[in-house]
Symmetry: C2
Subunit: 328 residues, 2 copies
């Protein structure tokens, strides 16, 4: 199967921004400058920032905020991205990851101590930034997402290496670890861009479904590669003991995989690659992809219940489709 | 020198609560129940919670909030304590500490992964709790303190083992790591207990000075012990490479200490004990204590500029004195 540009690919993101109101591009630029002011001043946080990222979550804030230009939207977009960065920095400590986006992680450069403190700093700055919106509901939304993220992380660690993880349990983890922050981004945009509007719930549902699809595809890409696209060896998650949907589905299809003990059988990159091949042979990846597509469909259905301006709707649909396009 | 009960000692805290308005005791009880609801539901967070703590920061919130009973004060007190707990859990990861308050740390029970995620969860819950006050200024105050804490942690790690740490640099670290959260606790109490009052700045100054004195005495106790009082071996901080005021001052008095390389010379508990004896021999501890007393004096001076009810003033003075009484 061929792999097309992911949502992180410049041309796809450009398509989203082209479709959106022109103000969205300017909000993204303002958020980037503000991120440099807020995170760039501290060495390790600055390294994380300059390593880049697709800024997908701020873009969701701005797209859901509608056409309105607003300092509040910029603060919210920056806050969501800072929180996302904080979790990446802490995840890298937990995974002992030395590279991210092709650059050394804070963990690699500064060690676990600096990385833990840097993550804490980014967390704190996220809430400081959000307090500038002067919206109490915004803080409640982001802190709820942030709690969910941490609970998802705890569940992931509890379930590591387990052969008892069901698809439902896996989806619960995706919901906590990924979807809640996407949901919060969309809600923040809706509540700050058009206060009092009833769109926040539906846009929140849109974000949540896009987030789950995003995570499933991420886990598919971990198995399918190619490495040149994902920037990491195939099977990295499996090697860490993270039980993802492709493995769960493959185990249902292949009795030998059911008997495989992940912890003792997958101990190096070569064994991880071999397991990826074995999972692919079961055709579990198309099944996982179909499940993700169902969430994209749900996301778009939520949009259809809203009376959105055409450009806003198109841009949001492109984001939802972009998750799928990563793997076609 | 004899060591009396620290501010954590039950009888001293009882004296503070006796001096305060009766409502403060009831606010403390409500905060304790709320902490159980918020943190007790998750296993590791619950362990941290049930390990206890003197709840000094919530008490500061309530004392500065005046006589007014208020849900807002309880939320703020709980938020400050959750943030404090989050930093303890992360500190234990950084210090690889297996015991705190005589009980196994989350790091010891669940490993670094669970402890990092548990700290993140407590951080998130702190802001979720504070958002319930529906006060945007409250969130700004706590997130500023939280950022300061993380920066203080980064500075501490940067300065580890260094022989170039000046008293000024040490005090800057105390300010960031300890005093800002004490300051935030007092400010939150003032702003939520008596909105619009001009007391917040002066009570914030009070909290900040008490916090610095608190940290200096903590560092004195690390050198003086006794272990039975502090619950940890003497010189634990020095063994971790943390350069504290007693060592800085002792180095000025003892040329051999100036030449000592902390990293290579203090590598086990016995060497740490020996260094503590050597520091004590220089009489650096009384000098450090005098510096802390100067901050207690500043704290009480800030109180005198306020027209506080007699009971409230007395209770706050008892807190300030309690820091000193830990070591008399």
């Amino acid at each position: 199967m061929s792999v097309r540009a992911p949502i992180s690919g410049p041309e796809q993101l450009a398509a989203v921004l082209d479709a959106a109101d022109g103000d969205v591009r300017s909000l993204v630029a303002r958020a980037e400058r503000r991120l440099a002011d807020v995170a760039g001043v501290e060495r390790h946080a600055g390294e994380t920032l300059s390593a880049g990222g697709k800024r997908l979550r701020p873009i969701l804030v701005f797209l859901c905020g509608g056409a309105r230009r607003s300092d509040q939207l910029v603060h919210a977009g920056v806050a969501v991205e800072l929180l996302h960065m904080a979790t990446l920095v802490h995840d890298d400590v937990l995974d002992r990851a030395t590279l991210r986006r092709g650059r050394p992680t804070v963990y690699a450069v500064g060690g676990p101590d600096a990385a833990t403190a840097t993550g804490d700093l980014l967390f704190s700055r996220a809430f400081a930034e959000l307090s500038r919106t002067r919206s109490r509901d915004a803080v409640a939304a982001l802190s709820a997402a942030s709690s969910a993220l941490a609970r998802g992380e705890l569940i992931q660690r509890q379930d590591a290496w387990s052969d008892a993880v069901t698809p439902e349990r896996y989806l619960e983890r995706c919901e906590l670890k990924t979807a809640r922050l996407f949901e919060a981004a969309c809600r923040l945009g809706a509540m700050l861009g058009a206060p009092g509007s009833e769109a926040a719930d539906l846009l929140g549902t849109f974000g949540s479904r896009v987030g789950i699809a995003f995570q499933i595809f991420d886990d598919v890409l971990d198995v399918s590669g190619p490495t040149a696209r994902t920037g990491k060896p195939r099977g990295t998650d499996l090697l860490d003991g993270t039980v993802t949907l492709p493995l769960i589905l493959a185990r249902r299809r292949d009795p030998e995989l059911r008997r495989l003990d992940l912890r003792s059988s997958v101990t190096d990159a070569a064994e991880a690659e071999a397991l990826c091949d074995r999972i692919q042979a079961t055709r579990a990846l198309p099944e996982a992809r179909d499940r993700a597509l169902a969430f994209v469909t749900e996301a778009k259905a939520a949009l259809r219940e809203l009376d959105l301006p055409a450009r806003q709707r198109l841009a949001l649909e492109l984001v939802a489709d972009g998750v799928v396009e990563r793997y076609a």
